[in-house]
């Protein structure tokens, strides 16, 4: 919230321009983003995003919580891909602890992560198309998203704030019928993607609004810290799932969609292809799901099963100690990054050897991606700002934290 008082100061001789305020209450800004635009007629001279309206001090709150209590907070920073944030956080803590995770838990994490990516991309596609004026796609996307949310509810009891992952594994065994439901979904989902593409990809109006609009070169994208589809849409071939694998991603086969054009359409194509690839990963995860435990064998860190807790004294003691005192994590620091639907989501955690993190920093993909907005829009038309904002897929909860 930096520019409440002076909006960009106009230099003498610039009296042709005017300042237009967009947001924070604007339906196409996907939350509470305020954009200050200096315009000359219909052309943008300068663009300045103003963020911070949703700042809740999550990083500060984390410092006052036990390690296991931070997991629900991580859901809330990016409410469209809670599992990705859960995963990134627990991977970072497990790296600090040096904990080995059983294969089944890793595969479940991959499965849930790809469902989360589908969920997040569906919301993006629906709202992005709606911003540009294609209202039907929104309803189609939310139809499939509803099914994904129901699956989340099955495994975790929550539709959005799932908190399904735990340090050392996942919270619960998925219930009976869950895998069948996912298999069913993965079976018909590619047809649904065809449906969205029928509506948009070849549509001349969609093409006119997106092709050649808000172009970002590869050099600019790297220099401005863009990641994820925003970077791959500009032709830089990097995906952390493939290039720096975590949680058994090296065992899955998938393509990384890259486009050279760098415009809104290129980013759209990357994400739509990712929907198909994610669906493929979901199918592989279902087919190859290993048997075995879903939690690591680390009694002082992982909560015991409810049944054991009620029958065995030792488990009860561990349970009591973890809940009341937390678990100590050896001193040190780690940076763990995962490929979230929006780009590189990173957690930097510093431990001082106690049961509470000394510092938790979230490297948010949108926060860096938002910096590309000025580069995309300056010198172009006012109407394209909405398309550009949609194409970088921002979530303000993650930007402001």
């Amino acid at each position: 919230m930096a520019h409440l008082a002076p909006t960009p100061v106009l230099e003498p001789g610039q009296d042709r321009t005017m300042i237009l305020n967009m947001g924070p209450q604007h339906p196409s800004t996907h939350g509470v983003l305020r954009v200050l635009l200096e315009i000359d007629g219909e052309t943008i001279v300068r663009l300045m995003p103003d963020i911070g309206f949703l700042h809740t001090g999550i990083e500060k709150t984390c410092e006052a919580k036990f390690y296991q209590q931070v997991v629900p907070l991580t859901d809330r920073i990016d409410y469209l891909c809670p599992m990705t944030n859960n995963l990134c956080y627990v991977l970072a803590v497990e790296k600090l602890l040096g904990l080995e995770i059983p294969p089944k838990a890793q595969w479940l994490r991959v499965l849930m992560n790809e469902l989360t990516r589908i969920n997040s991309h569906l919301v993006w596609l629906g709202t992005h198309a709606m911003d540009i004026g294609a209202l039907t796609v929104f309803l189609y996307c939310f139809r499939e998203r509803e099914e994904v949310l129901k699956m989340f509810e099955m495994v975790s009891g929550q539709r959005m704030m799932t908190s399904y992952f735990r340090v050392g594994g996942v919270a619960l065994e998925p219930p009976l019928g869950f895998f069948d439901r996912v298999r069913d979904f993965a079976g018909y989902f590619p047809e649904k993607v065809d449906e969205y593409e029928n509506l948009l990809t070849g549509n001349p109006i969609w093409g006119m609004r997106t092709k050649g609009v808000a172009v970002l070169s590869a050099e600019d994208a790297i220099a401005l810290g863009a990641t994820g589809p925003t970077l791959r849409g500009s032709g830089v071939d990097i995906d952390l799932r493939r290039d720096m694998p975590y949680s058994s991603y090296e065992k899955f086969q998938f393509k990384v969609p890259v486009s050279q054009d760098g415009d809104v359409f290129a980013r759209y194509m990357c994400r739509v292809q990712e929907l198909r690839e994610s669906c493929g990963i979901v199918r592989q995860a279902l087919d190859g799901m290993p048997e075995g435990p879903i939690k690591a064998d680390a009694p002082g860190i992982v909560l015991p099963d409810r049944e054991k807790m009620k029958t065995q004294m030792e488990s009860l003691i561990y349970h009591f100690k973890i809940i009341t005192e937390g678990f100590a994590v050896p001193a040190g620091e780690v940076y763990q990054a995962v490929e979230s639907p929006r780009g590189e989501m990173g957690y930097y955690i510093v431990s001082d050897g106690t049961a509470k993190p000394y510092r938790v920093h979230m490297r948010s993909a949108c926060f860096a991606n938002l910096q590309t907005l000025a580069k995309m829009c300056e010198g172009h038309l006012l109407a394209d700002v909405v398309a550009a904002i949609g194409s970088i897929d921002i979530v303000l909860g993650e930007i402001d934290r």
């Binding site: 911070g52 709150t61 510093v350 910096q371 934290r401």
Partner: protein, 165 residues
């Protein structure tokens, strides 16, 4: 899986491209190294950070061309109080390195990296806003999360979690 102890001997770590490059460039600037949990940390002198980053970015063998993150850790009440932490990524070589600069509480000032990576802009503004560390040469160093008239820097350790009442 037991944790391996951290390696801090610079001679053992010379194989790492970033360490080799920086030691060959200016051994005085490298104050220490640490290899812990498969991650490389290099402690740099405050005055060397911008040139070191420019050098790492252009390294032909392993260009660390992407600035992934800038953040800060407050070690109040010990001195030097602040550690500014940079995470660099090499997109061609898929290699990461962490650079650290220690700043004392008297003058928490360090050179800005915005001339090398314009993307450092928001990250440095965030560190300035929440920790009160200043970056010289930054084009627009103003609060980004907190309101303009906010007093104090919330992520400092002497700032209460529930805020001032």
């Amino acid at each position: 899986m037991a944790l391996a102890p951290a390696i801090t001997d610079i001679e053992q770590l010379k194989n790492h491209p970033a360490v080799a490059l920086l030691v060959a460039w200016n051994p005085q600037a490298v104050q220490g190294v640490k290899f812990d949990r498969e991650e490389m940390t290099i402690y740099l002198d405050r005055s060397a950070i911008r040139e070191a980053c420019a050098l790492l970015k252009e390294d032909p063998a392993c260009p660390f061309n992407f600035l992934a993150d800038v953040t800060c850790v407050d070690w109040y009440p010990s001195e030097p109080r602040f550690e500014v932490v940079y995470h660099l990524l090499s997109i061609p070589k898929k290699e990461r390195v962490r650079l650290k600069v220690k700043l004392d509480s008297g003058s928490p000032v360090v050179e800005s990296l915005t001339s090398i990576w314009p993307g450092a802009n928001y990250f440095e503004r965030e560190v300035f806003d929440l920790f009160g560390v200043r970056f010289t040469g930054h084009p627009y160093l103003r609060r980004i999360m907190m309101p303009e008239d906010w007093e104090g820097h919330p992520l400092r350790k002497d700032y209460p979690v529930e805020g001032y009442r």
